[in-house]
């Protein structure tokens, strides 16, 4: 060691504890090592007999950092630190290092060393912060999903109620019950009304915070479109009669199986046909039309109501989308995510001759 050069001995002393290489910049990309080379150094930079080194040639990272360093040497103050980087050296071994550039007595110095002491601590700190962030996100998502699921369930609870109420009213209107029974009918109708009101209140409370929810992939009975369409039409027929509407199914007689699960598919149909009944004017009919189209099955529900105003069409199937009447509802959104989850699609177009036409297309099974 050359004791006559004080600047060298400083670098040889305590810094060697940290495995640091101290280099001086000579311009033109060339560096000279001051003091001893730490253990990792020769293999990393494949130093030969030449005592001038072009560090940027050996490290893509330093190549970029040295641009900043050059600027720092000419005008900066204090130390410019690179932050840790991991890169394989000339010997193919990946090493994590840190560099800092500084000026000392007019000399442009570069220190390179493996990050010491605190890297593990930094790693642990960051890791726990990020792990925590991830688990918080996961929790939030779980809660969201549960809420949406609950919302869908509550929404579905109201569907049979409409049918029930329709039946009760028909019983009353057609005088099918004896006098004593009418009082009981009124009680039953009031109970249905109360339940509907409560369900609406719950849905309103949810409306504020409905997030996305994929229906879980159901491994249940595959839906037969023809059979399901007729079943849904039958369940809705009391409500239809009450509204002075006819509900007509135009589907092939033979089973038509699609991808998906039966219950969810019927919920989709309930939603679409239920909407149509609300908008179809008395004396007209609501049609459920089932057709096979290039490997897909299309189920269209048509009514002869006013149709959807063009400004609402774009958002009909959105999460917070408004229905045809401008009311926020989850029904059409549910139809969409269910269909998409099964590889299908949903859509709206005005019905030829006036009214609305909602369709679902689903891949055929088998």
């Amino acid at each position: 060691m050359d004791v006559s050069s004080p600047s060298k001995s400083i670098f040889d002393g305590p810094l060697m504890l940290y495995d640091a290489a101290v280099l001086e910049y000579k311009g033109g990309g060339q560096f000279v090592l001051l003091g001893e080379a730490p253990g990792w150094f020769d293999g990393y930079f494949s130093t030969g007999s030449d005592d001038r080194l072009n560090l940027g040639d050996h490290s893509a990272f330093l190549n970029v950092f040295l641009l900043d360093a050059e600027q720092h040497w000419s005008e900066g103050e204090g130390r410019l630190q690179s932050g840790p980087w991991t890169e394989a050296g000339a010997d193919g071994r990946a090493v994590t290092l840190e560099a800092s550039a500084m000026e000392l007595d007019g000399r442009k110095l570069l220190l390179i060393a493996p990050p010491t002491l605190n890297l593990d601590a930094v790693q642990q700190l960051l890791q726990s912060a990020r792990d925590e962030h991830l688990s918080r996100e996961r929790e939030r998502k779980d809660v969201e999903q549960r809420e949406v699921l609950l919302h869908c369930i509550v929404h579905d609870l109201s569907n049979p109620l409409s049918g029930l109420k329709g039946s009760l009213q028909l019983l009353a209107e057609d005088n099918l019950v004896q006098r004593d029974g009418t009082e009981l009918l009124e009680i039953a109708t009031r109970q249905v009304d109360r339940m509907q009101t409560q369900i609406r209140a719950i849905l309103d409370a949810f409306r504020a915070d409905v997030a996305n929810q994929l229906p879980t992939a159901g491994q249940h009975a595959p839906p037969d479109v023809s059979e399901s369409s007729r079943a849904v039409a039958e369940a809705l027929s009391p409500a239809a009669r009450l509204a002075g509407l006819e509900i007509v199914v135009d589907a092939p007689d033979e089973p038509l199986l699609i991808v998906g699960d039966r219950d969810k598919f019927q919920r989709v149909l309930f939603n679409l046909a239920g909407n149509a009944l609300r908008y179809g004017p008395s004396g007209t009919s609501v049609r459920v039309i089932v057709q096979e189209k290039n490997g897909e099955v299309e189920i269209a529900v048509e009514d002869e109501g006013p149709g959807v105003p063009s400004e609402r069409i774009g958002t009909l199937f959105k999460r917070f989308g408004k229905g045809p009447d401008g009311q926020t509802g989850l029904g059409l959104y549910f139809c969409r995510i269910t269909a998409e989850h099964w590889g299908g699609s949903v859509g709206y177009s005005p019905r030829e001759g006036g009214g609305a036409r909602f369709w679902v297309r689903l891949p055929r099974r088998g």
Binding site: A60, V64, V122, R130, H133, T216
Partner: protein, 168 residues
């Protein structure tokens, strides 16, 4: 030989390191070990009959703890903007990062990766939104570092874009 620097950019834990490991070493690990600073890897790929040497800069995920260092982007020819498809917020964050990069006057091609596509039950990305981005001319690829799909494709597509940009 042609050399191209590619950066992996995105929120923490979206799978940047995993994608590089899948691409370079062909392996995948379940364990999450957050990246500190930057990790540099190399991989040579053939494009149109010529060898292209990719220098992959796997940057630490951007958040308040380790904000993206734009100085690392110097010399970059393109980047993969990675989001975790099971966490919608990471796609929103990716859009912000893209904007920040654009504001730093770095105008290079990029490809968006919606990673973790093996976790379809947890998928959290709005398809319409993706379509809207594609409508802007963005390249968006669904990928899985776990299963390995979309990975080669993403690097190949980005390389093709980088080379046509360079030729233009």
């Amino acid at each position: 030989m042609i050399q191209k620097k590619i950066c992996m950019i995105g929120s923490p834990a979206v799978g940047k390191t995993s994608l590089v490991r899948r691409y370079v070493e062909g392996v995948f690990t379940d364990e999450y070990l957050t990246t500190i600073g930057v990790k540099i890897d190399r991989k040579t790929l053939k494009h149109g009959g010529q060898d292209v040497n990719l220098i992959l800069w796997d940057l630490a995920g951007d958040d308040a703890f380790q904000p993206l260092k734009t100085s690392y982007l110097r010399g970059m020819s393109g980047y993969l903007l990675v989001a975790d498809g099971t966490r919608r917020s990471t796609l929103e964050h990716a859009l912000q990062l893209q904007q920040r990069i654009e504001e730093a006057h770095v105008d290079v091609p990029f490809v968006v990766l919606l990673n973790k596509h093996d976790l379809l039950d947890e998928w959290d990305i709005d398809e319409e939104f993706v379509q809207a981005l594609r409508g802007r001319g963005w390249d968006i690829i669904e990928s899985s570092a776990l299963v390995g799909f979309g990975v080669e494709e993403a690097f190949a597509q980005l390389t093709a874009r980088m080379l046509t940009t360079a030729a233009a």
